[in-house]
């Protein structure tokens, strides 16, 4: 079921972020939301995730459903190992034995096998973010919200995480809303790319990418054309 937002209104400290804003997100796809920083992309995610109350508006398609959130920071509990961090969010959903195997499955999908019993302090920044990706996917949610989880990582690490993410996503094709301001990330991961304007937010453009992840090559002709296109609307 797709997620529909109708007539959303929200102001923040005197700034109108959303003024009768409506949008629909398709189920089972990765929608990338691009936009200038400070425009209210994160606020939209937080409204959908129930962390922020809108002034008014209607959201349909997520009622009572479990949601996952991949935050900008990994937000791992320092006193829990990789496995315990993932199991931490699975308590309500699975019995103990199942919890273990679910956690293990997603640890393997983000290629952290061998690190199950490590505490976060011993992991690199990229590895910690992979744990947070595994945690989000291990949680039996129907929608995953992502707020620039690749921000500040170097390009090699980014590509590495994008690959890990694409692989894990292929396993069950959940609905994903991915907020970013990085055009490359959007083109490499999005099935659907939405570009937002400055606040109050309007949809400037919306593109579909049907190419499978594996065939998306940075610096190919189609890639560069799309990138130039998106950068142009972003900078207008």
């Amino acid at each position: 079921m797709s997620i529909k937002i109708d007539n959303l209104n929200k102001s923040f400290e005197g700034l109108t972020l959303f003024n009768n804003f409506s949008i629909e997100f398709t189920a089972g796809t990765i929608t990338c939301i691009l936009g200038p920083s400070g425009c209210g992309k994160t606020t939209l995610l937080n409204i959908i995730g129930g962390l922020t109350e809108p002034t008014s508006g209607n959201i349909s398609g997520i009622n009572g459903q479990a949601l996952s959130y991949i935050f900008q920071e990994p937000r791992l509990l320092a006193w829990k190992t990789v496995r315990q961090n993932i199991e931490f969010v699975l308590n309500n959903a699975y019995e103990e034995a199942e919890r273990k195997s679910v956690a293990q499955k997603f640890i393997e999908l983000v290629e952290l096998n061998g690190f199950e019993n490590y505490y976060p302090a011993l992991l690199s920044g990229g590895m910690r973010q992979r744990v947070s990706i595994a945690r989000a996917f291990a949680y039996p949610s129907t929608l995953i919200l992502m707020d620039e989880p690749l921000k500040g990582l170097d390009i090699k690490l980014k590509l590495n995480l994008i690959r890990a993410f694409a692989r894990i996503w292929q396993s069950d094709k959940r609905t994903v809303l991915f907020v970013t301001h990085d055009v490359d990330e959007a083109i490499l991961l999005g099935n659907d790319i939405v570009v937002f304007s400055q606040a109050p937010i309007k949809i400037v453009t919306r593109k579909n990418i049907s190419e499978p992840f594996a065939e998306r090559k940075m610096n190919s002709t189609s890639y560069n054309e799309l990138k130039v296109d998106l950068l142009k609307v972003l900078n207008d």
Binding site: G49, R75, L77, W79, F88, V89, P120, A121
Partner: protein
């Protein structure tokens, strides 16, 4: 078996040797057992104390007072600290009380406690009053230091409140609790012994010290002091040891 010391440990050993030497020199200078007995004589007195009939009762009762005072302070400090940490209103209520307790001279409290309470419970009461504010303040600081991002994450993933307290709050404040417990213990032993000196319960290191002082047995007073220092050191080590056991996640 070969015992190896690091350079720092050699310096620490030298420091202890220096204190003993200073003591010896001063005892030679005063040349009177009523003022300052020689360290070796005091050591013998200490060893002799171990064989005294009442030794175990004296040390045991003082330690029991310390442990009871500590447990009471710990339970109260943890629960009040958590409440104050999560509720700013309760924190505002508790703060003046903590400040008052902490700035009241220990001796004043003892004098009042002597009027109010039985002699053997005075030291426990004093221990409680000196240790509780340390633990409580540390728990409050610990809770304030908890990353709200983590609690937001836990709430987002529908982790219930009981588990959030048990698996997020308590581990996050663990280092604060331990450092609070360590300072509380350090100051607590001293307070208990002062309490015993003044309230004179039947058994207790403070009682024994006071008795020795009355008969000008300076070596015995110092011997009991050494025993008190040793007890304090053992408990400090115990806390540090448990810290290593509990806070295993620190790289």
């Amino acid at each position: 078996m070969k015992i190896l010391f690091t350079k720092r440990q050699y310096i620490s050993i030298a420091s202890v040797a220096f204190m003993l030497m200073l003591w010896k020199v001063l005892s030679l200078y005063f040349n009177s057992d009523f003022i300052l007995p020689a360290p070796e004589k005091t050591l013998l007195t200490s060893l002799k104390l171990f064989t005294d009939v009442g030794f175990l009762a004296t040390v045991g009762v003082t330690m029991a007072r310390g442990i009871i005072g500590f447990i009471l302070s710990f339970v109260l400090g943890l629960s009040f600290g958590i409440l104050a940490g999560v509720s700013p209103n309760f924190n505002a209520f508790l703060k003046p009380i903590l400040v008052t307790i902490r700035s009241t001279p220990v001796v004043a409290v003892i004098l009042l406690a002597l009027i109010w309470l039985s002699t053997s419970s005075v030291p426990v009461f004093i221990a409680l009053l000196t240790m509780f504010p340390f633990i409580c303040t540390n728990v409050i600081d610990g809770i304030k230091s908890i990353d709200s991002n983590l609690t937001e994450m836990a709430t987002f993933y529908k982790v219930n409140n009981v588990r959030i307290v048990k698996e997020v709050y308590i581990p996050a404040i663990m280092p604060f609790i331990i450092s609070g417990a360590s300072s509380a213990m350090g100051i607590g032993w001293r307070a208990i012994i002062i309490g015993e000196v003044l309230s004179q319960p039947q058994y207790g290191i403070g009682t024994a010290m006071q008795a020795a002082q009355t008969f000008l047995k300076v070596d015995t007073v110092i011997a009991w002091t050494i025993i008190a220092v040793l007890i304090s050191a053992v408990f400090e080590k115990l806390i540090r040891w448990s810290e290593k056991r509990i806070v295993v996640w620190k790289a």
